[in-house]
């Protein structure tokens, strides 16, 4: 198929990729390399704390290969949701790694940097003007939750990326971006349909996760034309199939054929998926409907406390049958010492309902052992450590009814048994905001980086 080719090396920057697959991808002559560097899947902690869920050395390894290959081929490298969550500290972290890689290799590059942070005052004004809407099952935004939010980002649409591509650029680094955006931008700029480009981006952003067998660390390539796009794998180990591509179209979306994003909605109700070779699938019929007013999805996280956990196993059947009694007794002991307010004490029981919680339909424990996590969240780390320690020691020696093993109730796999898990965050902002001028909210900054750069 003639058209524009976008190479997607890996599902998340830093997850890695086989060098062979990547070399085959580069040999196919891509027009750009695009890579998603983040996700909200790992939860609110990373946005809240300004840290990345992928290790620095792992991101650097991927960047070494991607930067040198894209510069040598003279094609742009586009990075979306830099640093994992795409707020300013995450973008700066990613940009500093890019600079480090360029300098280490004696190269320089033209970099376009796009922050996607939204000032709290902008959101507060929108809230007053009734331009903030909750998502299904999400709470309405309040001044209180906005007040304790540490940073807010918007999932940016294609416009800032298009602006970045208006001048010659080697590397585009975007903050929080709607996942398909960085894959769709160059095709849209070249006049390919936004529906096809966005749908292709929706699949490419997860790289080989959408192939079969799936993998989060392998490369794939998409080729877009006027009537459709073709997805192909780059490893002999895996293929795209009609089913795998169709399945991925539905992945992690609330509705199977209406996929809302910034400024509009991808409609895949009229799509056809057609196997065109053993490894490749063609998709046609994807449409993009713009919506008015333009809406952006905001994400923000707030600190809720500090966590300490202790992990223990129980093999004693009588103890397993008495767990509710033990946990009630432990809770009362903790309340005797520290009251019942200002902290949360959770007994997570694996083997019972540790995975599904209130959705678990199995009423009884049928295994021969269970795993317990004593989980405490309190305002300070010291308070969480103290309460977790008390709950753990009380449970260890708790004299429940019918007990025959009087030397100890818990098997600890570790010493020390208790782990200070650090700050805990929650999504305090996850709402839609109506905006009038999305194209001017996220300016593009141009930098020359690396050797002899500034």
């Amino acid at each position: 198929m003639n058209g524009m080719r976008i190479l997607s090396p890996t599902a998340i920057l830093g997850y890695g990729f086989p060098r062979d697959s990547f070399d085959r991808g580069m040999a196919a002559g891509p027009d750009a390399i695009a890579v998603d560097a983040g996700s909200t899947d790992p939860g609110p902690a990373y946005l809240g704390s300004g840290t990345c869920f992928v290790a620095r050395a792992a991101v650097r390894r991927d960047l070494e290969i991607l930067i040198s290959s894209s510069l040598e081929a003279g094609i742009p490298l586009l990075i979306g949701t830099a640093g994992g969550s795409g707020a300013k500290p995450h973008v700066d972290w990613c940009v500093s790694l890019i600079d480090e890689v360029l300098k280490a290799n004696g190269r320089r590059a033209r970099v376009a940097r796009i922050y996607s942070d939204v000032p709290k005052e902008t959101v507060r004004r929108a809230l007053r003007d009734d331009r903030i809407r909750p998502l299904p099952f999400g709470p309405p935004l309040t001044d209180e939750s906005l007040g304790r939010t540490s940073s807010i980002v918007a999932q940016i649409g294609v416009d800032p990326i298009l602006q970045a591509l208006e001048e010659p650029v080697d590397i585009v680094v975007a903050g929080r971006a709607y996942d398909p955006t960085i894959f769709a931008a160059l095709p849209i700029r070249s006049g390919f349909g936004p529906g096809l480009a966005t749908h292709m981006g929706k699949v490419l952003e997860c790289a080989a996760i959408a192939a079969t067998p799936g993998s989060g660390r392998d490369c794939v390539i998409g080729t877009i034309g006027r009537e459709g796009f073709v997805l192909d794998t780059l490893s002999p180990l895996r293929n795209f199939t009609e089913e795998s591509v169709a399945a991925h179209t539905l992945y992690e979306k609330a509705h199977p054929f209406r996929l809302p994003g910034p400024g509009g909605c991808l409609d895949v109700s009229g799509c056809r998926f057609r196997q065109v070779s053993d490894t490749a699938v063609e998709v046609t019929g994807s449409r993009f409907e713009t919506s008015a007013p333009y809406t952006l999805k905001l994400e923000g996280a707030a600190l809720v406390g500090h966590r300490t956990i202790a992990v223990a196993g129980v093999r004693d059947r009588i103890m397993i049958e008495s767990l509710d009694e033990v946990f009630d007794g432990v809770r009362h002991s903790v309340q005797d010492s520290f009251g019942s307010q200002g902290y949360q004490l959770n007994f997570r029981t694996y083997g019972k309902d540790g995975v599904m919680g209130p959705l678990e339909p199995e009423g009884t424990i049928c295994g021969h052992e269970v795993g317990i996590i004593f989980d405490v969240v309190a305002p300070t780390q010291d308070e969480a450590d103290t309460i977790c320690g008390l709950a753990r020691s009380t449970a260890l020696h708790y004299g429940y009814s019918g007990r025959i093993a009087t030397a100890g109730n818990l098997a600890f796999p570790f010493s020390p048994s208790d782990i200070s898990a650090g700050p805990v965050y929650e999504f305090s902002v996850y709402h839609l905001m109506e905006v009038d001028k999305p194209e001017s909210m996220f300016p593009v900054e141009r930098l020359t980086m690396g050797e002899d750069g500034t």
Binding site: F137, A247, L250, P256
Partner: protein, 109 residues
């Protein structure tokens, strides 16, 4: 009445977050004939999901059949938002087994 496990009708059954407030369940049926039969009889419906996941009807967002993928998608509210203090499955990726094991009416063809 004869019944069959949904696992015996499908090739893929999975769960995942759709944002921090929703959980989405996908079932991809093994062939066109099976899909059409399930869709025509609405064998996966709100009543089934209420029973399997012990949730009220207002916690179920939508159940939508999607012909191009021979699939049905069920979206419901998460018990608590992803990553909040009491969450048990931050990615929502291990909530599918009640659907896998569910029995639905199915007479011999």
């Amino acid at each position: 009445m004869k019944t069959i496990r949904i696992a015996d009708l499908a090739r893929i059954i999975r769960s995942k977050n759709a944002g921090p407030y929703e959980l989405t369940l996908d079932v991809f049926f093994k062939d066109e004939e099976t899909y059409r039969k399930v869709r025509e009889r609405r064998l996966i419906d709100r009543a089934l999901i209420r029973r399997l996941y012990r949730v009220d009807d207002d916690q179920i967002s939508e159940i939508v059949y999607y012909d191009p993928a021979r699939a049905v998608k069920v979206t419901l509210a998460r018990p608590v938002p992803s990553g909040s203090v009491n969450d048990t499955d931050v990615y929502g990726a291990q909530q599918h087994m009640p659907l896998v094991d569910a029995e639905v009416p199915w007479e011999k063809i």
